[in-house]
């Protein structure tokens, strides 16, 4: 592709500029992926170089260190204690003791069972005392997987702590060599509210995220490679075990003839994307429209209009959505009114026709979403410098030109990242779909396979359906969840890296 200089570019006609922009966009895609892979490569290179350096440092610290340092390689915190830093030393030692105890008592067992996820399932066992067969539960695949992962986390934490312990010795030796005193336990405690205050502040939030988000996500990713479901719950019914990539094959392989899962997944993914697109942009533009009406000069009672819309935000969504859903049902108030007014002869099947149901969820979503957008847009409108409008009026722009040349570009620039989060948020908008339709109307072709997939089901509501009920296919839900992640991640990556408008975010600052 020919690259134009700035001056050459200015001479192009509108059409040429557009083609040129489009061409540069597509030309930038390979570059983007090249950079992405290079970045990943660099990451791993840095990782390995880093690990290498750590080992080299471990060696040199051992070789150069005094006996206190050397003993610390085995007894953590020894060096600290020997140099008078009792608090740190004791903490290290305690951590080591806990770790060893745990590994002996439990960790070793979980880790050894991890490759098989349990050997003996539940079953009847002869009991000599009672002289009868009793049903007995044995290994627990679920716990093995969970505690196995936890044990690996713990081992990583231990290695990190051990490394820190060695580093401490090195640093302490260096400080002592300059003749300065080491920090005492009191200094350490004091620094927790001062220069190390961030560690104090982050301790609680990060622990929560680690245990309640990171650990479950790792666990669920692993579940995608097992046959964990309602009939293989790992303890009460049957053990579950590793099955490799089989589940991904089930969900994604279209070629294997009559694959209902793949077809259903494809259909739901398509609808999810369509839904996210419409839900995001209808809200965005209509919200902008409403905000601009309310903010127009000369419109009175601005506060009243705004308050009416804002009030609807406060009402819990399950009330408004469930209620609106019933309003449009066959014997709901809307059909009732239309019938009594004689506008229609028989009830409109708002929720029974696939197309109508899909349109309805998008329309009702507008009703839900506009108040938020109105607030956001109002905030941004207020921030657009008034002199931009004044100067454009002097330049001869009319209201429509002001909107397209000033308001809209400004909006798009400021709200670019917000639009992206809205889009991905809508892809996972469980509440609106589940409370309005519950996924209905049922898609007969798709529902025989997994859950009871309907025409308005999003991936996220489908996932929920898969995991409920006696035949919950957790492994499938987990694959769907991973696919949702992949789709969201790809969209975010492309939007963030390729679209120039987000890159040049500073333009309007």
């Amino acid at each position: 592709m020919k690259k134009y200089s700035d001056l050459e570019y200015l001479r192009l006609s509108k059409g040429q500029k557009f083609t040129y922009g489009l061409a540069s966009f597509f030309a930038s895609i390979p570059v983007f992926f090249k950079n992405l892979f290079l970045g990943i490569g660099r990451f791993f290179k840095n990782l390995f170089v880093g690990i290498g350096k750590e080992f080299a440092d471990l060696g040199s610290t051992f070789a150069k260190g005094d006996w206190k340092t050397k003993i610390s390689y085995v007894i953590m915190g020894f060096g600290n204690m020997a140099r008078g830093q009792w608090l740190r030393g004791l903490l290290f030692l305690a951590f080591e003791a806990v770790f060893i105890m745990y590994m002996v008592v439990a960790g070793g067992y979980w880790l050894s069972m991890l490759p098989s996820l349990g050997k003996v399932g539940p079953g009847e066992v002869y009991n000599e005392v009672l002289d009868t067969y009793v049903y007995q539960y044995n290994d627990n695949s679920f716990k093995i997987l969970l505690y196995g992962v936890l044990t690996i986390f713990f081992i990583i934490a231990f290695i990190y702590t051990w490394r820190m312990n060695v580093k401490q010795n090195k640093i302490a030796e260096e400080i002592l060599a300059t003749g300065k005193p080491l920090k005492s336990g009191k200094d350490d405690l004091k620094s927790l509210v001062d220069d190390q205050f961030h560690k104090t502040l982050l301790a609680l939030p990060l622990t929560g995220i680690l245990i309640f988000t990171v650990l479950p996500i790792v666990f669920m990713i692993l579940v995608a490679f097992t046959n964990y479901d309602g009939t293989h719950d790992g303890y009460y019914s049957n053990l579950f075990t590793w099955v490799g990539l089989q589940n991904f094959n089930t969900l994604l392989n279209w070629s294997s003839g009559n694959n209902v899962y793949a077809a259903t997944f494809g259909e739901i993914l398509t609808w999810t994307l369509i839904w996210a697109f419409f839900a995001t942009f209808t809200n965005y533009f209509l919200g902008m429209f409403v905000a601009m009406m309310i903010n127009k000069k000369g419109i009175k009672l601005k506060k009243v209009w705004r308050t009416i819309l804002v009030m609807t935000i406060a009402i819990p969504q399950f009330i408004s959505l469930l209620y609106v859903s019933k309003m449009f049902s066959k014997n709901g108030i809307v059909n009732g009114l239309f019938l009594s007014l004689g506008w229609i002869k028989e009830a409109i099947p708002f929720w029974d026709s696939p197309t109508l149901a899909r349109i309805m969820v998008i329309v009702i979503n507008i009703w839900i979403g506009i108040p938020y957008l109105m607030l956001i847009v109002t905030g941004i409108l207020m921030n657009i410098p008034a002199d931009l409008y004044e100067s454009s009026r002097i330049d001869g722009a009319n209201a429509w030109q002001q909107f397209t040349k000033i308001t809209l570009p400004y909006m798009l620039f400021i709200t670019g990242p917000y639009l992206l989060t809205q889009f991905t948020g809508n892809m996972n908008n469980f509440n609106v779909i589940y409370l309005l339709t519950g996924g209905a109307p049922t898609n007969a072709a798709a529902s025989s396979a997994a859950g009871t997939a309907g025409y308005t089901d999003l991936l996220i509501t489908w996932l929920f359906k898969i995991t409920t009920g006696a035949e919950a296919q957790y492994y499938l839900a987990s694959v769907v969840g991973i696919m949702v992640f992949v789709v969201v991640a790809v969209i975010s990556l492309i939007v963030y890296n390729v679209l120039p408008s987000i890159k040049n975010e500073e333009d309007f600052q």
Binding site: F197, A314, P316, F318, F485
Partner: protein, 290 residues
């Protein structure tokens, strides 16, 4: 433009403005009706006595408090209390966690800061529902499901709330850093900077965080349904009232649902309207920051 044309055009402007304003007023009234209609209907139907099911008209033929009486004799009071306890606990704990997280990410430049933020961004791309499967079983082992769902739900809501730091971090970023620096030079520790300088200035965002944290549990459906798992004593209002609208119950519970909706929405809405200013500030600030 010649001068003698100016007055004519001026009048034209005024007239066209009047027309466009009239159109806008009509549209705004129409919009207001659409937005308020469901809520007016729900209130009216909650007072309807003659039928407990859906009817094709809006104004009740017979007014009465029957539905409310029935509401307070059902499990609703239990659900309401559950939700209220959860909401208060979440509001307190989540606010503390979010403030810790966002203040730290806004003010401290430590080694892993960027990596941490990117990591959380990636974590956020996983559907949160996925984690429910395992959390349910773990909480079940800990005895925090079904009838004891309240502590379990609080734990689930609060535990990962550190990831929702964006909006308040955006706010903290707008407080000049030189205030922190001045205070530190004046002899304050980092902790004192937070308590004596930043928190008093962060009142709007603190209120915003409390408000959103308090409101979320009233509307949550998925997690609450998972963890209460069909046990009425552990449900929140959303899960409990959802069941009233299933095929078997809707004929006799529809108007009670409306009454319940009013009882749930009223306090939350009043609270929200009182603190509206802070909410608007938070929402707009958050979106502009991205």
């Amino acid at each position: 433009m010649s001068t003698n044309q100016t007055p004519k055009r001026h009048m034209g402007l005024k007239a066209s403005a009047r027309i466009s304003n009239t159109i806008i007023y009509i549209l705004l009234i129409f919009i207001s009706i659409i937005w308020l209609a469901p809520f007016i209907c729900i209130v009216l139907q909650s007072f309807r006595v003659e039928s407990t099911w859906q009817v094709g008209y809006v104004i009740p033929q017979q007014w009465g408090l029957d539905n409310y009486v029935r509401l307070f004799h059902s499990d609703f009071t239990k659900w309401y209390l559950n939700t209220f306890i959860i909401a208060v606990a979440v509001a307190v704990i989540q606010t503390i966690i979010v403030l810790c997280m966002s203040y730290t990410l806004s003010r401290f430049r430590f080694k892993m800061r960027k990596a941490l933020m990117q990591f959380m961004l990636i974590l956020g791309m996983f559907p949160g529902m996925l984690t429910m499967i395992i959390l349910y079983r773990v909480l079940k082992d800990l005895g925090m499901t079904q009838a004891n769902a309240v502590p379990g739900l609080i734990l689930v809501y609060v535990a990962s709330s550190g990831m929702g730091y964006y909006v308040s971090k955006g706010f903290f970023d707008t407080i000049p850093k030189s205030l922190d620096e001045a205070a530190r030079v004046d002899g304050a520790t980092r902790a004192q900077v937070l308590t004596k300088i930043i928190l008093p200035l962060a009142k709007p965002i603190v209120i915003y965080t409390i408000l959103t944290a308090f409101m979320a549990p009233w509307g949550d459906f998925v997690f609450a349904r998972y963890i209460s798992f069909g046990t009425s004593a552990g449900m929140n209002v959303a899960v409990g009232m959802y069941n009233w609208l299933n095929k078997d119950m809707i004929t006799s519970w529809y108007t009670t649902f409306c009454a319940g909706g009013v009882v749930v929405a009223l306090p939350v809405t009043i609270l929200f309207m009182c603190l509206q200013r802070y909410y608007v500030e938070g929402v707009t600030g958050g979106a502009v920051k991205g």
